[in-house]
């Protein structure tokens, strides 16, 4: 589903990603871990076609980025740590806007469906400005799945959420990921990721230094695995 070969990204003379290789099968939920500044957000932005690579090849569902990005954007949904929502519009209006941009059929019923999914149906007429951070994130996920994408990218979605909000978010994430979608999620939070992902990859200093499937990684070993991986670069 996602094929990355020798991906390099430079900003001016600063190299952020160095010849990175990455491969994700359909239906996998990959937690991309790594310290600050490792390049996780940059990497995710490249996958989401928001930034173009300096060198290397990125293919999503067989389409080459960035030249064929237009064809595959419809199949991607992105949640970043910024909500990507318009505060002066209601939740409904936000979804309606994105629905029109994506050409979602049966928009009104789909909006209702999505609002139910993220548990915000009772607040749909409220301005997003009045939402708590946790509610905004849930609505953001709703926006991301509105057009029924089969590939999802989450960039540290738990940022700024308290325990309760995080748990609610996890429920939604699980629900959304369970429908056979391919998910890549960057995260700081090892424990949270452990509960959601089917695979852990570690990005350190611009390359993937380790990758392990959840079946073979008992919880107690996760921290050691991570620590070793970030020193390996």
């Amino acid at each position: 589903m996602i094929e990355v070969r020798k991906l390099t990204k430079r900003f001016g003379h600063k190299t952020v990603l160095r010849g990175l290789d990455f491969h994700v099968e359909r239906g996998e939920f990959v937690a991309l871990l790594g310290p600050n500044g490792a390049g996780k957000t940059t990497f995710l932005r490249i996958l989401a076609s928001l930034t173009r690579p300096t060198l290397g090849e990125v293919r999503i569902a067989g389409y080459l980025l960035p030249s064929q990005a237009g064809a595959v954007r419809r199949r991607m949904g992105v949640v970043s740590h910024l909500p990507l929502l318009y505060g002066d519009l209601t939740a409904e209006e936000n979804l309606r806007f994105y629905g029109r941009m994506y050409g979602v059929p049966d928009l009104e019923s789909r909006i209702r469906q999505v609002l139910d999914l993220v548990g915000l149906a009772h607040r749909r007429r409220d301005l997003v400005r009045a939402y708590s951070r946790g509610m905004q994130q849930r609505l953001a996920i709703g926006r991301a799945v509105l057009h029924d994408p089969d590939i999802l990218f989450f960039d540290e979605p738990h940022t700024g959420l308290d325990q309760d909000a995080s748990q609610m978010l996890d429920t939604v994430l699980r629900e959304v990921a369970s429908q056979g979608r391919t998910v890549v999620m960057t995260s700081h939070d090892l424990v949270r990721s452990a509960g959601l992902a089917s695979r852990f990859d570690v990005l350190s200093r611009g390359v993937i230094t380790a990758s392990a499937r959840r079946e073979v990684m008992p919880m107690e070993d996760l921290l050691t695995f991570y620590r070793q991986a970030i020193q390996a670069a």
């Binding site: 430079r10 989401a48 954007r73 990507l84 929502l85 002066d88």
Partner: protein
């Protein structure tokens, strides 16, 4: 020098033919969103309006607009007012997208980038025209002149189109710099001078009741500017928003 990847997404424009239904629907979505959000918050319009009225007030004291000089000076005063109020609106329009990262949301959508440009530009145009719609009657009342001539209204529309066409492009750049608000007038005014001159001259012509033969060259210049810069902005906008 190492060769970096070429810049423009080489998506053939044919992927989303302009004026296709999807294009128009997305365009409408962007325009509607900006208008609806503005209707709720009224931040942009109130700022532009208050600013415009203040400018007119200042001109009154600065220029001592008595009956005689007023006819020749009115068009200049109006257009300076529109130009300055316009820059306020232009900056706010993009700031709204950038501050909440919403620009990414627009870029992720499977639509041609020009939808974003045209959507924003049309939204900006509407705001400028709304400001003009309020400034004109106020000016008419304050100075006891009748400004409601079809010729003048035509010039306001044509001039605003040109100003907004360049302004939307340049503000999309200015908003991504550190010196955001200061930079837009610096970038915009030298490049918008043909529009401003032509708009002032043709509005002045209509107000003074000059012969059409004298006004035509200015209207032509306005039209030419509008077409040229809409085309240039359309071709170049992708490079501004795509990283």
């Amino acid at each position: 020098m190492k060769t970096d990847a070429p810049l423009a997404t080489a998506e053939p424009r044919a992927l989303q033919p302009p004026l296709s239904f999807a294009f128009l629907r997305a365009l409408w979505a962007v325009i509607w969103k900006d208008l609806a959000a503005e209707l709720r918050s009224r931040e942009l319009l109130s700022a532009m309006l208050v600013f415009a009225l203040l400018v007119i007030l200042i001109f009154n004291f600065a220029l001592e607009l008595d009956m005689r000089t007023r006819a020749t000076v009115t068009s200049g005063v109006l257009w300076v007012t529109f130009a300055f109020a316009g820059t306020l609106g232009l900056n706010r329009a993009w700031a709204m997208e950038k501050d909440r990262g919403c620009l990414d949301g627009l870029l992720l959508a499977p639509v041609d980038r020009s939808v974003i440009y045209f959507g924003k530009a049309i939204g900006n145009l509407v705001f400028m025209l709304v400001v003009a719609a309020i400034v004109l009657p106020v000016y008419s009342v304050l100075y006891n002149t009748n400004l409601f001539m079809p010729g003048l209204l035509l010039v306001i529309v044509l001039g605003s189109i040109g100003y907004v066409a360049v302004g939307t492009l340049l503000s999309s750049m200015a908003v991504q710099t550190r010196t955001r608000d200061v930079l837009l007038p610096i970038l915009l005014f030298p490049v918008a001078i043909p529009v401003l001159i032509a708009a002032v001259k043709s509005s002045g012509g209509f107000l003074q009741g000059l012969e059409m033969a004298e006004i035509w060259p200015w209207l032509n210049l306005l039209g030419a500017y509008d077409v040229i810069f809409i085309a240039v902005a359309f071709m170049v906008f992708d490079f501004v928003v795509e990283e």
